[in-house]
Symmetry: D2
Subunit: 140 residues, 4 copies
């Protein structure tokens, strides 16, 4: 992959409107890998005053999408299984990390974790199935 293509992929991947709404930062990524972070704000709570499950899922999903699309081929999630392990709250800094475990034709398996950067607690763990299309989302 040449430099120009790499930059074009990075530009697409970082232009994620929902990631921006949540305040997610892209820390690092490469083919089949991504690490992102966010700090929990009051508007990320559920009605019990804990971080909303949808926020935890979304943070992991953003890492997953970046890792899975980093080859420049359009990839979409088919299935995600998420286990919620610990609650978090406003002010916690969370890290979402996704890595490719297996890639077999158009189908990939990813492992996703969300951890609390304050105490290294594992907050949620997912395994996720991806479908990779043949077409590239980078136009020459």
């Amino acid at each position: 992959m040449d430099k120009k293509t790499e930059e074009a992929i990075e530009k697409v991947i970082k232009n994620d409107p929902f990631g921006h709404l949540l305040g997610v930062q892209v820390v690092d990524f490469s083919v089949g890998y991504a690490r992102v972070s966010m700090t929990i704000q009051p508007e990320h709570q559920n009605f019990h005053g804990m971080t909303h499950g949808g926020v935890i899922f979304s943070l992991g999903d953003i890492a997953f999408a970046i890792a899975g699309n980093a080859r420049g081929k359009t990839a979409v999630a088919l299935n995600v299984d998420i286990s919620f392990l610990q609650a978090t709250e406003v002010g916690d800094k969370l890290i979402g990390e996704a890595k490719e475990i297996s890639l077999n034709g158009p189908i990939g398996l990813y492992e996703i974790t969300v951890t609390n950067d304050n105490n290294q607690d594992l907050i949620a763990k997912s395994q996720a199935v991806l479908y990779r299309k043949k077409e590239s989302f980078i136009k020459d």
Copy 2:
């Protein structure tokens, strides 16, 4: 359940900060059931210009949380398995619906669907395991 308790539960359930950030409306709920809706906005897109998987998950998760907490006992998600079936886009009105399939001691199984109200397409389907604590979140 008396009228006062019902109203107290409804007040808690509708005070969901992340649901408000997404623009989710509570359409209907009862013990073990909920129906919610939202209209997709530009800030709900992913970097491919489709509705973000995290938004789809969150809409279903909000229905799940309401259905599971409608008895007034604190309930939390242990595990959610979501399959994504169709893409949606800005302007689509989505319906999230959750219903209890089984309740056995502290453990419940819920079925969650997200459908596109414009064409009745099934957008995502989940099965979700809930853990119900003994304590009530309604104080006398």
Copy 3:
């Protein structure tokens, strides 16, 4: 689909060595649907004396495989999420049922249930993602 092809598909589908080892009977099937049954024997127990989770899964998986292959195209399971709801024991007659919820290109979503025919209890519920290959397993 002509009569000869239908019979060829049925012959393949019913020739399932592991299904035979478990004593599974094919009750009914059509494109995207199957219903199978088995009676729990002493050798199907786990070390707690209940029906083994692997037996429950396998019964549902056999229904899933038949439903998913009933078009005569080779289909394989990508992902199955199973929730175990009730225990069963030796002598219980269990019904496995699978039906197609969605089919989008090569990817299908199936819902699978295992029920106890004695009391209609829901024993397990799964959602399962299938990948359908282009090639037929029926040779002319």
Copy 4:
């Protein structure tokens, strides 16, 4: 845990009728961990002539059950999400391995892998939620 209790637990765990039917060997186990193996026989095939998904699941489930019950407290599976990654065939020696990722009150999360000992291919990967009861299955 004294020697006598350990031996009583081992005796229960190794007395698994369905494991015996499949020819599963217990290689190693400790609290929160187990490793088991089996060699695929003709009766473990599906109707496509590959190892049956139910056999793959069962091998992992046997490892999971041993790891989860190795404290001597009765533990049952609530939910298992399995992704199938590679096919195997008659004569392959498969290894099932389960390890505890998290334990929070009565709820545990386990990671389960099935690998092909011939070529180290990852055959299937699961994450599984366990519910641990208070009662011991070892009587004094």
